[in-house]
Symmetry: C2
Subunit: 190 residues, 2 copies
Amino acid sequence: MEQLKQKIRNEGIVLSDRVLKVDAFLNHQIDPVLMQQIGQEFARRFRDEKITKIVTIEASGIAPAIMAGLELGVPVIFARKHQSLTLTDHLLTASVYSFTKQVESTIAISTNHLSPNDRVLVIDDFLANGKAAKGLISIIQQAGASIAGLGIVIEKSFQAGRQELEEAGFRVESLARVAALSDGQVVFVE
Amino acid sequence: MEQLKQKIRNEGIVLSDRVLKVDAFLNHQIDPVLMQQIGQEFARRFRDEKITKIVTIEASGIAPAIMAGLELGVPVIFARKHQSLTLTDHLLTASVYSFTKQVESTIAISTNHLSPNDRVLVIDDFLANGKAAKGLISIIQQAGASIAGLGIVIEKSFQAGRQELEEAGFRVESLARVAALSDGQVVFVE
């Protein structure tokens, strides 16, 4: 997706050979117009998949997911990482290690909002080692719902997440695929 | 806002005389069409205020804020409650106690994204005692930016937040004002 790659080139900051900071338009400040374009692109790619729900994870997945949900006309569920007084339902959970936060956390979705009749599109901001994606997949499978695929805003193609998800049989659609972060530059997959 | 009140009546769950659960369309599962209507309504009410940025707080503020940002054509910043490896900038912070999570947390916004030239609309999902709103206001004022007002999805009018914010001189626009939660029913302000 060319607008996204241009934005990464112009406003992304390479912090190391593994960490790309996109706090200017995705992870802290968010560009709503870009998010709308991203939502439209996810919708275009998964339009024929009879999606009934989108599942993402707080906090940075919410903006692209909500725009895709608007385009596809389906609700969005965000998995919670932190306990809340109002989240009192029976919960489906998975344990996820976050590289960027360096903590293991439990993510949870209420059983109220997913059923075996659902066909789910998983959306997230980043795909690196795939830990968050696999946690979401585990929860969706616990609910007995089917998974149409994963829509990723930025993929770090030099980490194993995509390969492992594809080997497990999942369709992965990433809007920007980063081949390498080197000398402060972002190199995209051709 | 009538669509929102109808949604609260139909899908909100009164957990106690102080806690209203709206996990079906705002705090866990999100209704993108309703969020778009909410964004349009915030934009309508603040259209003449020359807003340059919207500030909200993760996670439930993001969906209504991003839709308002799309309508007003301005970026959205979400304050972070949790430290991230990529949030390495100089930070403006405030301490906020969350009633629904029963924890004190530090919320933070990078100095990179707010300046004295900004005129900010604060958006959040709930206004109760106003702790989160005051934390966001403190951060925006630390940045030297001005505050056009606060856009709230659901206000608990039986708690002191709105009154205290108005007494401090801030405009508060709430799309649904809850007068009381009693006998499992939501009573709105007339």
